[in-house]
Every structure is written in C-alpha cells, then in structure tokens.
C-alpha cells in the first residue's frame, strides 16, 4: 500500500511540468489570437477613447510579461480571473458547468461501454456471424455520423415527430428547479434529496444527448474490444485453458477478457478525453449548459481568462483521468507497473 501511495505521489509530481507548460502556452496562445477584446467589449458604438478606457480597465495596456505574472500570481491564490463574456468568475463558471459536461460524458460513455463491450466480445467469439456484421454496421455508423447530425436527427424523430422526448432545453425542463447542489450532477443530487420526480426529469433530459454521445463513443470501444478479444482468443494460454477442459465462461471471462481489457481500458481513457471535446456540438444542439459551449463562446469573444481557465481545467482533468486509468491497469494486471 505504501509503495502504491508513493507511486501515486510520483505520478502527480510528474504532472507538474506539463501543467506549468499548459499555463504558459495557453497564456501565449490566447494573446496571439487575432481579435482585440477591448474593442469587442467596448460595445456597439464605442469610439477610440472608450476602447482605450476598456483596455486600461482590463489591464491589457500592460506588457505581456507583466500580464503573465499578474495572472500566475492570481492563479496561485486560486483566482482564475473574471470571464468578461459571462461577467462571472471563471472558477465559479467552471464549477457549475464542468459537472454538467461530466454528467453527460459519463452517461454517454457508460451507455457506449454497456453496448460496445458485449458487442465486441460477441463479435470476436463468432466472427462472420450476424453479431459481427451488426457490430461492423454500428461501428461504421458511429464513426461516420457527425454528432450534431445524430443529435438533430434524434430531436427531429423523438421530440418533433413522435413527442416521446422532453423539449431539448438543457438539463431540466422549464417546470423543474435544480436539486440542492451537492455534487453538481443533477441525477445524483436529486437521488440524494430523494426527489424522484426531478430525477426522472433529469434522466429524460439526459437521454437523447447521452445516446448521441454514446453512438459516437461506441465505435472505437467496440472495435478495440473485438480486436483485443480476437488476439486473446488466438493466444496460447486460451488454447491451453481450453485443452485443460475449463468451462467456456472461465475461458472467456478470466483468461481471454481479462487480458483483452488492458487495451480496451487504455482506449477508454482516450475516448473519454475526446468525448469531452466532442461535447461542444452536442451541448449546442441540446442547449446543454456545459463547459464546451462556454469555451467556444469565450474563444469567439477573445475572452482570455475564460479560455485559459478552460484549457487549464482540461489539462488537470486529463492528468487525473490518465492516472486513474493507469491505476486501474495495475489492478487488473500486476505486471503493469506505475513507475516509468
């Protein structure tokens, strides 16, 4: 256990240089973007004088170096600055929006795993059968359909035509008020509050966007599961296990799948990362108040503090996700060490 904690500490220390790099790069990149926030935020009929006033008020008249040290100093105090676009502190903005995005991403990813992993396993055990073909069709569709299209299509069919889905208006219908804030995940919070009605409403709102994301995430997971299972089933240890007359379940579950799970888990980490990015379009289509739409709007308005805050939080999130995945790998397979 002590060595494990030591290893985790080591990994966290290793994450420090990349995070520092991200802070510098995001700072420089936002400044290098064309577009002048002073002009943008001075308003529709601002003249030169008022633009200069705004520039001064935003501190953009100082040199980059000076601005950077002010920014870094504020970061140390946990202050990520104020988003000009929304007029609220970036930290507060991220804290309310990140749970929305994560809830959606986790649900989407969960759905994808539930469908893709069994599908991949079945396809691998029966190559050339109808399950294998179904797997291939789903994988192709998932890869080739852009998320905003799937989203709009689902809205058109299930909301506009049939009317089964609630109106695509974000995390809760107009008639509901968000549950008391604990985790920021509406489903979890409403469960904690014992409010079944709100839980139902939150799940109903979550269904279509999560399916949209799930369809997108399904393809790489199913493919990877199938390939890894095929590799494992063809291996010598599985042949030995079969030859020794072990049951089918033990052969598939313990010997083949456990070994195939390693590449699948690694893929999951990657899929999770790019799902957070792919979120943006889904969030737009379903009016989801997540972190992706916040970042896009900030980028359009050259809202420096907000863009930097977004990049930084994403970097931290990736560090955590990678760490968790690596730890899970060591649990599954003791041969994998955390040390590098």
């Amino acid at each position: 256990m002590r060595t494990k904690l030591y290893q985790i500490g080591q990994r966290l220390l290793q994450a420090v240089p990349p995070v520092l790099g991200v802070i510098v790069i995001s700072f420089v990149l936002t400044r290098a973007l064309p577009g002048d926030p002073a002009v943008y935020f001075a308003g529709i009929a601002a003249d030169k004088e008022s633009i200069e006033q705004v520039r001064k008020a935003l501190g953009l008249d100082r040199s980059w170096i000076e601005q950077f040290f002010i920014y870094a100093g504020n970061l140390l105090e946990g202050d990520m600055g104020i988003s000009l676009n929304t007029g609220r502190p970036v930290l507060e903005e991220l804290m309310t929006r990140l749970p929305a995005s994560l809830e959606l991403t986790f649900t989407g990813l969960g759905l994808a795993i539930l469908v893709a992993v069994p599908l991949g396993v079945l396809a691998a055990t029966r190559p050339g059968s109808w399950v294998d073909h179904l797997c291939r069709v789903l994988v192709t569709a998932g890869v080739s359909l852009p998320t905003f299209f799937t989203g709009l299509f689902l809205i058109y069919v299930f909301y506009y035509l049939v009317g089964w889905a609630p109106s695509p208006l974000g995390r809760l219908d107009i008639l509901f008020i968000s549950p008391p804030h604990v985790t920021g995940f509406y489903t979890v919070d409403s469960l904690l509050a014992g409010d079944w009605e709100t839980l139902g409403a939150a799940l109903a709102q979550l269904a279509l966007p999560a399916i949209t994301l799930g369809l997108f995430a399904l393809a790489p997971i199913a493919r990877m599961t199938r390939a890894a299972m095929l590799g494992a089933l063809a291996s010598e240890y599985v042949r030995t296990a079969r030859a020794n007359g072990l049951s089918r379940v033990t052969v598939l579950g313990t010997y083949a799948f456990r070994n195939a799970a390693l590449p699948v888990l690694t893929t999951l980490g990657m899929v999770f990362s790019f799902l957070l990015g792919a979120n943006v379009l889904v969030e737009k289509v379903f009016s989801w108040p997540g972190i992706g739409s916040f970042a896009i709007e900030a980028l359009v308005a050259s809202d420096y503090a907000a863009v930097q805050g977004f990049v930084l939080s994403m970097a931290l999130l990736f560090v955590v996700v990678n760490l968790v995945i690596d730890l899970m790998l060591t649990l599954i397979d003791p041969r994998v060490g955390v040390e590098v």
Partner: protein
C-alpha cells in the same frame, strides 16, 4: 426572536419560495396561462447595462426591469404589425416636462406614482445619480449619452425632490429621444450607494448581479448560460399593467432546436428569428411571425475610398450597377428585407430614410463605367464579411462575387471571425470591400450620416471624407425637424450618398419574432430586444 421579526422572515421565505414550488403546480397553471416562455439564441452576461463588457442581449433586462424618464409610443402598421413610434414620446418616470425658451434646459417633473421595488419614491437625486453614472463609467453608455449632448455630471441638476433639470450646451432634437433609449435608466441610488466602495464608486459589481430599479418587472432568477426569469412588479403604476405575470427566458444556442421548440408549442415566443426560418415559419402557418423593417438600419456593401481602385467614383458606381439586388433580397434575405434599389430620379424627392438608391442591376452600364475608369478588363479585390453574421452575409457575398465576375471584377471572399470583425472593419477600417449593417437608435437621417459618413466615425468603414457632408451633418444634427433648412440639408446629404456611393445599400433588414397564436401585443423595437410589458396571453 420577536414575533414581528419572525413574521417578516416568514414573508421573505414564502416570497422566495414561489419559484421553487413551481414544479408542484399543475403544468397548465405553471407553464401556460400567465407564464410566457421566451427562447433566445444568445444569453445575457450582466444585469447592468452601464458596466463594461455588457453584451447586447443583456439590454433586454434593462428594458424590462428599469424605468426611464420618458419612453417611445407604439404604432400599428398597415399589415397590423405593432412597432415602436420614434415620433411619439410618452411620460414614464417624468409625468411632464418643459423646455426653456432658449431650448438649453429641459425640466422634468417626477411622477409621485414612481416607486422603487423597495417602496421608496423615485426622486430627482436618484435620476441625477443614475445619469451621472451613465456618463462617468465610460464605454458605450457614455457614447450614447453624448449623442443626446449629455457628457458630464454638471449638466444634471436635482432642483428639488421631484424636479430634475438637464442643461445642454446647445438645443438639440436628439436629447429627448435619447432619454428613451435603454441607456438612461433610473437606479435606486440609496441601495446602490450602500454597496459602493472606494474602488467601485458606482456599485458596478453590486448592480451587475443585483438590480435595483422601479420597473414593471423584477428579475427573480438568473442562471447564467441557461435562463433568467422576470416576475411582474404588482405595484408598478407608470403604465398599463403588464399582461403576463412571469416571463421565463431560456437560452437555446442551436437555431434548429429553437425552431423545433416553437413549432412544437413548447415555447411561446422566439425572439430574433433568422430570415430563412421567419419565411418558412410564416408559410407553415402554425405560428405567428411578426416583424417590421428596422428603423434607420441598412445592410450595405462598403467600398473603402482609400483603397484602390475604389477611390475612383466611376468604379464605385460600376459596382453599384453590377450588384444582383433582387437575388440578394429574395435568396439572401429570404424576402425579409425592404428593397433599397431602383429609384427613378438621381436626387431624392423626400427626406425619408432609408430610401431606395437610384441604382439597379445593369451590367452594360457597369461595364461602360469601368471602361471610363480605365479598367475595362476588370481587376481583382477581396470581399470581407463577418462570420458572426454569416446567415445573411455569406449568401450575399456569394451572390455579389458571382455578379461582379460578370463585369470582370474577380472577387476573393475573406471570412473574418466575429471577434476580429470590429477591429478590422470599424476600428482599423482596413477592408477594401465589405458587408456592413449599422443601424442608428435615434431615428433621424442626420444621425445615420453622423455615424456612417463622417470622417473617422466608427461606422464609416469606407473611410469616406467629404467636407460638405461634414459641414451639413454638424449643422443639421441638433436642428429641429421643423427648421426650414432641415429638409434641404437632409436632401442634400442623401443626394451626396446617392452620387458618391461609398456605401451601397442592399436592403433594409427586418426584425422578426415568431410566437404562438395565443400571444398578443408583441411590438418590434429599435433596440431589437423584447419589451415584455405590452405582451398578453390568452
């Protein structure tokens, strides 16, 4: 705890809990009869218009929750559409006003019926503090106040509790209408001052999240990036009682989703519908589409006179004769634009503005003008447009590119992201050929010319400079419209715009809103925001 305190706390608690209990009401009561659900594309970012960085959609909050000294009336167009009336100024906080003989002092009597939400009466000191704030915080509000000749706090005088005076450097027809635009709101100065600090003397941080006004609606909830909710102020007495008790404004970023919501009947009103959707919704017949041409607003093709070859008048005119006006109105504006081409006479016969320019699509004439300019074989140029307004600018640019190709002008399209647009087009003014869409809040032609034709002014993206225009605009800006010289000056200005064409008008755009048939009283405003006060629902 004393009994009285206890009762007070209970009162607050029940007041605050009205909304959270919403979900226990039957859907009909909560969702329909007295609640209006509005969907918009862009969210608000502040509850205080005077603050730096407040975006345009936020102006609607100011319109509904704050009062002004005066407001514009509403008129009905021939087709039944309601639209604000720039010629009719009605009392709001001021029950009456007088203008001094020399026209340099406006004195307002404050209505005893004007009360802030906390019950305290609106006083002249509140008005003065609010106006001082509007001219002192800088940025856009200061510029808008300046249009009405109000630049410094010394001009605002609280004569006594109920009398407020504005002193002007010169009499101006723009001052009174400028008091009815969204900027000069009246804030509860006692509340604001209590939250002011040394670094923040105008309580910008406080009012940004906590409005303190006297308006017909109060803002009870704001979830940034999602929604905000207005509740009717039952004590408001400065006009007819608003028809709906609660207005929920939801942000829906995707246009296709907004359209599905209004067609399915889950939203009552869809503000600022793009032209294509407006046309199709109108033809669909499920919902009402109400819209009117935006006063004093034009979508134009700007030609920068400091860039070759547009410094040559003949080239500019050639371009004006080569534009596919009809196609632009029908396929880029989907018919939701008033044509601004094809006038018969070369000089204006009226002072209407905007009015059609004496150009029409005539490729032979355009070729002839190009030949006269010594460019018979054409030239190459770039046409820049704003990606943030791609819904009309992209198809328009494509049509222009195709049509100019026919007279030998080879056009490359240059898409500029919204954030960079203002810097490139309006501040640096470095785009040779570009699409532009200025609209003046005060509905006078000279006001449009002031912003769009005077040298160095923000919306003069064509770098146009004409000494006669400079002189005429300065002379006419503050002149009463009844002045005998007014009409002559305006006609001359329009004649110059006709002949010189640094800006070629394409059409006058519409502001469209789609709503359920149960919604009435919607009017189209110059500030392009929803004024909920007149909305009713059956």
């Amino acid at each position: 705890m004393h009994r009285r305190d206890f009762l007070k706390t209970m009162g607050v608690a029940t007041g605050a809990s009205v909304l959270p209990f919403l979900r226990y009401l039957p859907a009909e009561a909560a969702g329909r009869s007295d609640t209006l659900v509005v969907i918009v594309g862009d969210g608000i970012n502040s509850l205080d218009l005077h603050r730096k960085g407040t975006n345009r959609p936020s102006y609607q909050v100011t319109v509904n929750i704050y009062d002004r000294l005066v407001r514009f009336g509403v008129k009905k167009l021939k087709d039944g559409t309601l639209v604000y009336d720039s010629t009719k100024i009605e009392p709001e906080i001021a029950e009456s006003w007088t203008v001094s003989k020399d026209g340099k002092a406006l004195t307002f009597k404050i209505s005893p019926k004007a009360k802030f939400w906390d019950g305290s009466p609106v006083t002249a000191q509140d008005v003065k503090w609010s106006f001082d704030r509007a001219v002192s915080l800088g940025g856009f509000p200061a510029v808008q106040m300046k249009a009405g000749s109000m630049v410094k706090p010394e001009q605002f005088v609280a004569v006594d509790d109920k009398t407020f005076r504005i002193d002007l450097p010169q009499p101006s027809k723009l001052t009174l209408p400028d008091l009815a635009v969204p900027v000069p709101i009246v804030i509860n100065s006692k509340v604001a001052k209590a939250h002011a600090t040394k670094e923040d003397p105008w309580a910008a941080e406080y009012l940004h999240k906590t409005p303190a006004g006297s308006g017909a609606y109060k803002l009870t909830r704001w979830d940034p990036g999602q929604q905000f909710v207005y509740e009717r102020n039952e004590d408001w007495a400065l006009g007819p009682k608003p028809g709906v008790k609660r207005v929920i404004v939801r942000e829906v970023p995707a246009g296709a989703t907004r359209r599905a919501l209004i067609e399915r009947g889950d939203a009552d009103l869809y503000m600022d519908v793009p032209a294509k959707a407006a046309k199709e919704l109108k033809e669909g017949g499920k919902v009402l589409v109400s819209g009117a041409p935006i006063d004093n607003c034009l979508h134009v093709l700007g030609l920068s006179v400091t860039h070759k070859p547009f410094d040559n008048l003949k080239v500019r005119q050639a371009v004006a004769y080569a534009l596919p006006y009809k196609d632009i109105v029908s396929t880029a504006a989907y018919g939701r634009g008033k044509p601004m081409f094809g006038a018969k006479a070369a000089t204006p016969s009226s002072i209407d503005w905007p009015q059609p320019f004496p150009y029409d699509t005539d490729l032979e004439k355009a070729k002839g003008l190009l030949a006269e300019a010594g460019m018979a074989s054409g030239f190459e140029t770039t046409l820049s447009f704003n990606l943030g307004l791609a819904d009309w600018q992209e198809p328009t640019a494509l049509l222009i590119q195709e049509s100019l190709g026919k007279i030998g002008i080879k056009v490359t399209l240059d898409k500029i992201p919204g954030a960079n647009w203002r810097t490139a087009a309006l501040v640096e003014k470095r785009l040779p050929m570009h699409l532009e869409n200025f609209g003046g809040w005060l509905n006078y032609p000279d006001y449009y010319f002031f912003w769009a034709y005077k040298h160095g002014h923000l919306f003069n993206s064509s770098n146009y400079k004409n000494d006669e225009v400079e002189k005429l605009v300065d002379e006419t800006m503050h002149m009463e419209t009844s002045d005998p010289k007014y009409a002559a000056n305006i006609k001359r200005l329009i004649a110059i715009a006709f002949a010189e064409v640094p800006r070629i008008p394409l059409y006058q755009p519409y502001l469209d809103a789609a709503m359920q048939k149960s919604v009435g009283g919607y009017a189209s405003w110059f500030h392009r925001q929803l004024d909920c006060r007149a909305i009713s629902k059956t």
